[in-house]
Symmetry: none
Subunit: 140 residues, 4 copies
Amino acid sequence: MLLIKRLGIDDARVLIAGARAKAEEIGVPMCIAIADESGQLIAFERMDGGKVTSTTIAQDKAFTAAGAKRTTESYGAASQPGQPAYGINSAIGGRLSVVAGGIPILVDNQVVGAIGISSGTPAQDSLCAQAGIDKFTDTL
Amino acid sequence: MLLIKRLGIDDARVLIAGARAKAEEIGVPMCIAIADESGQLIAFERMDGGKVTSTTIAQDKAFTAAGAKRTTESYGAASQPGQPAYGINSAIGGRLSVVAGGIPILVDNQVVGAIGISSGTPAQDSLCAQAGIDKFTDTL
Amino acid sequence: MLLIKRLGIDDARVLIAGARAKAEEIGVPMCIAIADESGQLIAFERMDGGKVTSTTIAQDKAFTAAGAKRTTESYGAASQPGQPAYGINSAIGGRLSVVAGGIPILVDNQVVGAIGISSGTPAQDSLCAQAGIDKFTDTL
Amino acid sequence: MLLIKRLGIDDARVLIAGARAKAEEIGVPMCIAIADESGQLIAFERMDGGKVTSTTIAQDKAFTAAGAKRTTESYGAASQPGQPAYGINSAIGGRLSVVAGGIPILVDNQVVGAIGISSGTPAQDSLCAQAGIDKFTDTL
């Protein structure tokens, strides 16, 4: 039997609040998704003006970062033409995201969930995702 | 040119809070989804203990109620064997939900979005969905 | 933060062995799937002669029983025409199984995973699923 | 009339055991899938700590290697920009894997099935897949 640490809904709200504050600061309305350590959705918010396409993309970034235990940005590098994971972007019905903005959340060196953000540039998405994690880490 | 009334993220949070309060009252942890008038997800929360399968089902109930401008429960009646909408439950890749728990939200007789809830019995899901709408209506 | 109990691969092998022994006893080669408490596949075996269609169905039964925390058989009753969950069988892209053979596995009153079996009659599938759980329970 | 050679469940277990031993040796918990010559799943194991996303990817690598009778790695080369199979990674709903780790299994110059592995680097995945085949070949 395994014993697993997992984000709860209260944790998810802190993560979203941290990401949203940064999104407001940079003036980009975002879609923000929080997945548990199995990649299942815990919470989601589309800020007013967030992109409809990003509704799915943010969820898939969180799913990927949680399930694969790595940033979606790292997959972006690993899946360039000629690189070892080339072509992986269409895996799992296209849910495996290789665009920056999905970051796993670690507690005691275990992945307990992930945050996925979409609507800005990938760099903006990552910035806000990290801001969510920073706020969450401050509360631990 | 059309002018569309649509729920915003602040409205979505009120709807979720109202549904969650009722869910806590009856002791059933729920998945709660809010869609806009186009059926696109605005916000989602899975209460601790909510069902993983309901993560998708709650979203699809909100999608159906918003997009079709009717309760998912009404589709349950209309899709019984021998009824006119028989078989519609597998439409749109199975996203068209005919199980109670999805209710459109009207403002000035216009559908502005919908709430979809899953994890309890369909009657419990509907009860909590209506509680969310009631709380939202009180704030108007 | 939540703390979750989950089946490990050693547990999954015990469950499969118990189910397989019963399947051999009744002479029906089965597809046997074990999911964790989030519905994610841990282990699978198709016995020689098991049905190809059951490869997917067994996995979906395990997914449903784990994710919804109830037997797929109970969904069969609840989803009959005129019943509250009518039409739920096509939810989640058709992955929500309402055919007997998927049973959640509880330890200390928590769902830690599920077993899903397919290839025989639904009654035979359930019989073998329960045999797997019985063998697992004996090892605790 | 055709006569088809196909892996049985006993063969599949030998293949998994060989792959798992190598995975333990290199310290990377893997998802290991065995498909028959038609690409249909025979057996699967997710080692404790294997990635949730790899649950699907390992199966799709085995499916691709068996169905196309070639390594998924060879598809990686053939699907680079400007190459003849460019874009094939999104075929079959994204199930056609072009990432190393899927290897067909030949007996008497016939494909009798395939092994697909995921959770490590593609090179690690291939290493463990080959280790499974080597162990299987030793038993023939």
